[in-house]
């Protein structure tokens, strides 16, 4: 299916880093890729709430790509400097500046707008590169870190 998607946009991860996972995906493969990703991140040493958080964050990026980003996308997962770094790219029409600049939690009676907000909340760092030719979102989480660094619900 990789011939169905254009070349992946520029990556910000060092090119010498060997990906732990690199895969294309489409609408029917969201759950399957989520499970593959979870197993991969767990093998890399991510565990507990950090693992669950990162899996949900990546799930949101995959879902955004298939729903708003043209229906297909590419996912890459790397280990770099003790961080797990995941990039999800699509060839959709891009994310509007107003959406990107808004980091507020959606109102609890608002359907929509939750995906990027959750990805941001549930990762340590999120970088969005977007334009009319597509979107790449990179999120990262540290493998062995201080849990207090996470925004917690308590």
């Amino acid at each position: 299916m990789s011939d169905a998607v254009p070349p992946a946009p520029r990556t910000v991860v060092p090119v010498h880093a060997t990906p732990l996972l690199a895969d294309g995906f489409n609408r029917g493969q969201v759950a399957g890729l989520r499970h593959t990703f979870a197993a991969c991140a767990e093998s890399a040493g991510l565990a507990g709430q950090r693992l669950d958080d990162f899996v949900l964050a990546v799930n949101e990026l995959i879902t955004n790509a298939v729903r708003h980003g043209g229906g297909t996308g590419e996912l890459g997962l790397w280990l770099a400097d003790g961080m797990l770094v995941c990039e999800v790219s699509d060839a959709g029409a891009g994310i509007g500046a107003d959406r990107l600049s808004n980091h507020d939690r959606p109102a609890p009676d608002t359907a929509g707008g939750w995906g990027l907000w959750l990805a941001d909340q549930l990762s340590e760092e999120m970088v969005v590169m977007t334009g009319p030719a597509g979107t790449t979102v990179r999120i990262s989480t540290s493998l062995a870190g201080d849990l207090d660094a996470f925004e917690d619900i308590e």
Binding site: H35, D52, L56, P108, D109
Partner: protein, 116 residues
């Protein structure tokens, strides 16, 4: 990557229904994502059409819930309210509970028997 019809890709939510006079219960089991969220909303709408707009969604069997799940609950509650009822959530555990709390839905749609 697996082929689109591999068993792995079929993982989704299953919905069991228990209708009652005061309220009806939808028990969700499995993983709730964009593949299963329309089914949850469809089941809520079916209850409303049958005259049961008071819907308690039991999340105790759910192991995963994403933004599509949140949207289904929010839309479902809106549909119930339009029919004079409500949709409430109960039983979330683990990471599902974390997401429900983090989103603020626990506060807005959390089930309290004394105050629906």
């Amino acid at each position: 990557m697996t082929s689109p019809d591999a068993p792995l890709t079929r993982t989704s939510v299953s919905v069991a229904e228990e209708r009652g006079a005061a309220l009806s219960v939808l028990r969700l089991t499995g993983e709730l994502d964009m593949a299963g969220a329309p089914e949850v909303l469809r089941r809520v709408d079916t209850l409303i059409a049958a005259g049961d707009p008071r819907v308690l969604v039991d999340l105790s069997g759910l192991t995963f819930c994403d933004s599509a799940g949140l949207n289904a609950f929010i839309r479902g509650d809106r549909h119930c309210r339009e029919a004079g009822g409500w949709l409430r959530l109960t039983g979330a555990t683990g990471h599902v509970d974390r997401v429900i709390e983090l989103s603020g839905l626990a506060e807005v749609l959390g089930y309290r028997p004394d105050l629906p």
